[in-house]
Amino acid sequence: MNLSLDHNTKTVTGTQQIEWINNSPDTVYQVEMYMYLNAFKDEESSYIRGSINNVMGQDLSNKPEEDWGYIRLNSIKEEGIDKELQQRYIQKLDNNPKDQSVVQIDLTNPIAPGGSLVLLTEFISKLPRTIARVGFAENDFHFFVHWYPKLGVYESDESGVWGWNCHQFLQRMEFYGEFGTYDMTITTAKHMKVGGSGCRTTQDDNVDGTTTYHFIANDVIDFAWVAYPDFEIHTDNWNGVDIELFYPGHHKSLVPRIIGAVKNSLEFMEVHVGTYPYPKITVMDPPALGMRSGFMEYPTFITGGSFYGFPKGVKSLESLIVHEFCHQYFMGILANNEKEAPWLDEGFVTFFEDNVMEAYYGDEDNSLVDILGYRISNSAKSRDEYVGMRNRRASVITEKSWKIKGDYKGLIYAKTSMILRSLKHIMGDEVFYRMMRIYFKNNQFTHPRKADFAVLVKNIASLELSKFEFNQVLSLLNLGLDSTAVCDYAISTVVSTIAHNGSIISTITVEQLEDFYIPVDLRFTFEDGSTIDTTWAQPTDLKQFIISSESRLLTAEIDPYHKLWIDVNLNNNSYTIESSPFTVFKYFNRAVYWTQNLMQIMSFLM
């Protein structure tokens, strides 16, 4: 693409040459392209209609004309044929005739299997004021995502039928694209600092006061970029991977934290998943005025979100960078279809975010927050997002993004992460991460689907785990991925009586209070220090374990190794006859103390 940015009108005019190879067994007569910037053209687009007049807290009512954006395909021709191709907007998902987020092009010459197509386009993209990351903000901040005519993916669906996978732009949809090489030439005013996907290979000042940047990005599914005059640039390197950070000058003190998070993520993902295959990762830490463009991932390019004076004890800054970086592996290199199977991306990323944070920023106690004695780990927060869902049964996690009901983040990010965490604890770190490395190696640059993961898990589990653990894995996959079942095991009662022969008979009642039946471990500990480990291999609603022993039963635990992170109440997983009144006393004191403090503060004028 050859692009020219006019920062006064917030428009990019461009020419584009697209080369596409037909790897399908079909002859292709039409192509479909994303024109997602048209989602922000007016209030009639399916994206805005679905937003109830509010996009991420941004009120869209009375939006001035200049704050809307659009993309227009001024010309599209096949190479060597001087004839405009027929184009029409299509709306396969919701039949909204006003939606212009996907365009269908009739080809003059159908493309036979193995054949190739070269399209030449001329387009203009007008940025909206920042909405859903894309757009312009004050002080000539420009962020380009969903900004150019982009081919969909021609592929077979799960039933084996080939066609264009090119969905309209609806709420919650992110990326799905074909791998390719992006060769970009971007001309902007000289004062702009420009960063983006891939590598910036050259930067030439022109006689007309502009600068032309050349970017190359290989084997990526998209290209995003930023232009802003007040960026500082920090460069670094980790094991041959260049790291380039664009940040506003007043965030200088945060640079080591951001770079550290990138390096930690690179190291963890290389060891546990696979080698980062690109030569560079670019990070953009937006100024506050560009904050709406932050918190996101693009191929080889991620955006953070921080502000001046961000407190050190709150590690959400690092957690965000880690999260967005981990997307490189799932959205970027595996390139799952985020629209149809968002769990394969966001859920996996949240799982690895939790693990990176716990590996480098504390333990299972304080990896996210450690301030004034209050400690929260990243995984505990993720778990809480699932456990705290108002309705945990609203949808299954494998649902298509636009059909998901209820709390999207709790379901897609957190529940998936808890399923993976449970898998890791059942399989053990060594087996689990070996499986992840195989999953990554076998599927990189291929768009894997649920079956690619689930079949691999089952295969590895059948080879490496005991029958009991294998059944745990099967239940986890079947109920976790394909049902809305909720897991809540409980030790309901423990009753001990003395038998005629003097031995102690303990009756332990164990229940599954919901409907997620997964084999579980149990442990009974006695006063003399001895333990009995057993299992409930085929759980039903309720079971009683009756144990005869010489020593008094002290504790009964279900899932004593804390494998089942999907259990929504961990407090009822154990029972001890030696409860400590001091915990109650501790919180009694705490409540008394803080109430006294509040009384003193609030009465200062009385």
Partner: protein, 286 residues
Amino acid sequence: MNSVDSLISSFREAKKLRKVIGLIYLIQLGLAMFVGIFAGRYISKLNHSLNQIELLFRYDYSVLEDLKSIFPSDYGAITTVALLMIVAYMLIATFIQSGLLYSIYHRRYNFNDFKQGVKCYYRRFIGVGIFFWILAIGWTLVIWIPYMSNLFHMVEYWVAEYMIVWLFAFLGILYFIGLSFLFAWSTQTRYIMIYQSHWSWSVFKRGYRQVIARVGDHSKTMLLYLLILIIGYCIYFLLERFIGISGVGLVLMFLIIQQAWVMAKIWHRTAVYISIRNLQKIIRTG
């Protein structure tokens, strides 16, 4: 006498009011114990869970969040009771202030004098309290409403983002200066009321003049008062951060630390009332 010396001598004088200070502490403790009972009952819902023991040794986010999600109404009850107890104490505080300031003003530290002050002034002091609370709410709105309502606009349009943070800090300081001024003004107003022995609207004006006439001394006193409070809270948080309330012995140790600090703050505020009285006395006699 400089402000530090004045505060030290006020602390000494406040010792003479130890019975009243003890009474205030007991009232606060008694009311707060209701909240404590609700919190204790809530935690006891962990029943025989091993997590109850876990919670004794460390702050565990998941244990508390699971408890909240299973017993949301019990959690809500704690905040409701806390709110009720705080409001109840604010009303009781009016009685306490009337007796306390009466004793301080007349330098009569007998418990009967405290009771005499309560009897004579509590009704009038309710009016004064409400007046200054309305002013405090107004001040809160004046300072924070423009900032909060423009926050999104500032974030999106201000190039110098650090200005937003510094403006917040500046407004925070200004806010506390305003509240400190109200505290001093309210105290001086009550002293004037005790001095006049009758109610009139002019007490507010005279109280205001008292503060303005020696605004520097009042500022120093209030600044010292705030500094001691801030240092005390910092020490407490550092202790809790680095020692932690983890284990039976530490629960008991922190119980003593917490209650000592609560008691110290009552003594400390009494000393500040004495310091403010001393400033008032000088201007009156002078």
